[in-house]
Symmetry: C2
Subunit: 276 residues, 2 copies
């Protein structure tokens, strides 16, 4: 027992590490779980990455990401679905049942968020049976409203649950990410709702810091550097019945510029002190 039994390191937190460095660094730090991203896994080879993680004693807690299912154009929609089926296959090969979905923004020229969310639901109706057959449960991640136009028209946990609940709970989950949801005062009761139906597929951590950088994607804070009540979030998610991994996913160039082992040591120390 090192206090890191539930801790998972999302690889983008230390993106300066190759997959072998990630496997070795986690093993040395006593970290047993990792969240992986498709691009580096595919570049390394999916089966090869799966073997690397297995041999290092690492469990893959989630694969990021499928999604981008808002296209109105039929060819774009078909391409997105094909890509999502590939993502399901990769998740299955890596031995994780959780495929994180970033659902996509508004198509060029569109102003209709509701219609975009309906197209997501339509696409999921095709994707979910395929995933279920392979033991993979896609999980909708609501992204902060500042991403509503260009990345994800699903901005709240309420919207994510409204979409997910169109499917059986064992086939479609949601992601609770502190960075995206911390500002929302309705989140406590939505976490209860998500937990009651067993929908919480992943719980991810990052802190909120300002000023936001240009493009706002890479402005996440190390745990404890910002204003999110991380422990309160973890306690709520646990109280809702979630017992799964707690994954640190921090996109921040300042962390990427440092020694990976040092960043991991800092992150696990913050996790033990501020979250667990």
């Amino acid at each position: 027992m090192n206090g890191l039994e539930r801790f998972s390191l999302n690889q983008e937190t230390i993106r300066q590490w190759s997959l072998p460095e990630l496997a070795e660094g986690c093993a040395e730090a006593g970290v047993r779980r990792v969240g992986l991203w498709r691009a580096p896994v595919r570049a390394y080879g999916v089966e090869r990455a799966a073997r690397l993680m297995r041999e290092a004693g690492l469990t893959v807690s989630s694969l990021c990401r499928g999604g981008f299912l808002t296209a109105a154009d039929p060819a774009d929609r078909a391409a997105a679905l094909a890509d999502n089926r590939a993502a399901v296959d990769e998740a299955a090969a890596l031995g994780t049942d959780t495929l994180v979905l970033v659902c996509g923004g508004l198509p060029e020229g569109s102003r209709d968020l509701c219609a975009a969310r309906e197209r997501i639901a339509d696409a999921l109706a095709e994707l979910v049976p395929y995933a279920a057959e392979r033991g993979v449960r896609p999980a909708i991640e609501p992204l902060h409203p500042m991403f509503a136009s260009d990345r994800c028209v699903v901005s709240t946990l309420a919207q994510a649950l409204d979409l997910a609940e169109r499917f059986p709970a064992d086939r479609m989950g949601v992601v609770v990410d502190t960075y995206h949801l911390w500002w929302d005062d309705t989140v406590p009761r939505l976490i209860e709702r998500a937990g009651a139906s067993g929908r919480i597929a992943a719980f991810q951590l990052a802190d909120w810091i300002t000023p936001l950088p240009e493009g706002v994607l890479l402005g996440r804070g190390q745990l404890g550097d910002g204003c999110v009540d991380l422990r309160g979030f973890r306690e709520r998610v646990d109280a809702a019945g979630y017992t799964g991994p707690v994954e640190a996913e921090i996109f921040n160039p300042a962390l990427w510029a440092r020694d990976g082992a040092e960043v991991l040591a800092e992150t696990t120390e913050r996790y033990r002190r501020l979250v667990a």
Copy 2:
């Protein structure tokens, strides 16, 4: 009738204009209403600015801004209240009954959004009678959740209404700003709620464009350049019973770098075509 009867130009949209240039430019363009900001008004002289607007035939639709009422420190809180009383006096002098409130972010080191909102309510209980005696109705503006930590812990129209409804409707309103609220699928019914009780004190327009700039404050889009359904918003606000000014408030350095009259012509053309 030039189609601009309800249109108001918030002066920050053309901040390159001095107050005399604003008065002259609006008169030439057939614009009859302006939204003003405290800093330029104070620099010019409050009474002098009021006279300038009056003599140009301009009505002041709103004064931005009071607020920043989240301080926990007693001295900071007292200073904020004194500043808000001054803002009320300035609004009264300018002849507008609408003082826009940007309520403030989290104090340094705090992670408690709920407590911050309660401190706002406590401060408003002191401010509101003072304002009512002077014919001024403060109006809470919910700001986009990306400003929750550093500018405004009131992120949704629901939260703004929850705060405002602690006071009589003729003493405390809310601001509906398309830029801050466009992503929220619960806004249509919240606009109904706000309208039913006569709480809509101001309706402001800006479009949502990406990528957001560093700091995210100055990334608002010219009407029609982004993905907000501006006409849909205006129709909803009208259907809720609002008959007041429709104020273009666009913070964008690209607009500030251009000829002011050209920007105003473009803005009024967009307003007529896309909003009215």
